[in-house]
């Protein structure tokens, strides 16, 4: 891991508003998984940087926009059919991004039906993956 990648993780921590203790806990679990040999691996350092940038962009836009995207993601998932395990994982993801409420509202059609997304913001790609919306 390079210094630049460390810096990117710092940026991600800041973007997510993650406390040092919470980050340490996550990294500790990952290190344990590395020892065991079942730690998930990302595609590349470049994709990590790109995704972190996308998360930062999502967190920096007006809340109406990020909430709207989350809501539409939930509605898009509902259109495709939501598996229970996918829902709860996605909900937890969105909670980390502070978008759990609009996501849930979209998924449960609260406050009307949100339009579907044609494509998923990169920052939300992991969530979309858990919902089987993307490969």
């Amino acid at each position: 891991m390079t210094a630049t990648e460390f810096a990117q993780l710092d940026a991600l921590q800041t973007a997510l508003g993650l406390s040092d203790s919470a980050r340490a806990e996550i990294e500790s679990k990952y290190e344990e998984a590395l020892v065991v040999g079942n730690a998930p691996k990302g595609e590349s350092a470049e994709s990590l940087v790109e995704w972190i940038d996308a998360v930062r962009a999502l967190k920096s836009v007006h809340p109406d926009i990020s909430s709207g995207l989350a809501r539409r993601l939930g509605a898009t998932a509902l259109r495709a059919g939501i598996p229970p395990c996918g829902y709860i994982v996605a909900y937890d993801w969105m909670t980390q991004l502070g978008l759990d409420r609009p996501f849930a509202e979209g998924a449960w059609m609260v406050g009307g039906v949100a339009p579907a997304l044609n494509s998923v913001p990169l920052a939300l790609a992991p969530v979309a993956h858990t919902l089987n919306l993307i490969d």
């Binding site: 998930p40 990302g42 595609e43 470049e46 994709s47 990590l48 790109e50 995704w51 996308a54 962009a57 999502l58 836009v61 007006h62 109406d64 926009i65 909430s67 709207g68 995207l69 809501r71 539409r72 509605a75 898009t76 509902l78 259109r79 495709a80 059919g81 939501i82 598996p83 229970p84 395990c85 829902y87 709860i88 909900y91 849930a104 509202e105 998924a107 449960w108 059609m109 609260v110 406050g111 009307g112 039906v113 949100a114 339009p115 579907a116 997304l117 044609n118 494509s119 998923v120 913001p121 990169l122 920052a123 790609a125 992991p126 979309a128 993956h129 089987n132 919306l133 993307i134 490969d135």
Partner: protein
């Protein structure tokens, strides 16, 4: 967790800034069919209009392409993440939902906006939980089931917050 590879830079297809692009998204045609499933529940007003008042981009519900253009306004480049979903199933659900749309939509919104102050009775919660248990029996939650649950919440006086808590308890 998989992060898709960058494939292209965001471009606004219609000459407008693409907020999706800023967030690392690019319009694709693959998901166009995905939205069909809930058309029956949609109101003419379009919820996007509600969320765009103070946003940098004007959110429109008239069409999906226009929605993406709004996001394009944010001007962030990123890779394309296309959706994969089946359109046939959505069409079937849309036809099924047409019958219930107008009756259930507005009351549901009002009900969900109510604060938790009117907490449901234990019996009501238990009854709702039983319904909740059944909707995921087939391993998938679809719009018709969500609509059913919305009606049940209204009938039983279950708030959305209580609903979320029950879902969490059930799945968590």
């Amino acid at each position: 967790m998989t992060v898709p590879d960058p494939e292209s830079s965001p471009e606004s297809e219609e000459g407008e800034v693409d907020p999706f692009a800023e967030l690392g998204v690019e319009a694709t045609a693959s998901a166009g069919s995905v939205s069909d499933g809930l058309e029956a529940f949609m109101e003419e007003d379009g919820e996007d209009e509600d969320t765009t008042e103070s946003g940098p981009v004007e959110l429109e519900s008239e069409g999906e392409e226009e929605d993406e253009d709004m996001f394009a306004t944010l001007g962030v480049a990123g890779p394309t993440v296309s959706l994969t979903s089946s359109s046939g199933e959505d069409d079937i659900l849309a036809a099924f939902m047409d019958d219930e749309e107008e009756e259930s939509q507005e009351p549901e919104v009002e009900e969900e906006s109510k604060p938790v102050e009117s907490a449901a009775q234990p019996d009501a919660k238990e009854a709702y939980r039983m319904v909740l248990d059944t909707v995921w029996v087939d391993g998938i939650l679809d719009p018709a089931e969500v609509n059913l649950l919305a009606r049940k919440r209204e009938d039983l006086g279950i708030s959305f917050e209580e609903h979320l808590a029950l879902v969490r308890d059930m799945l968590g």
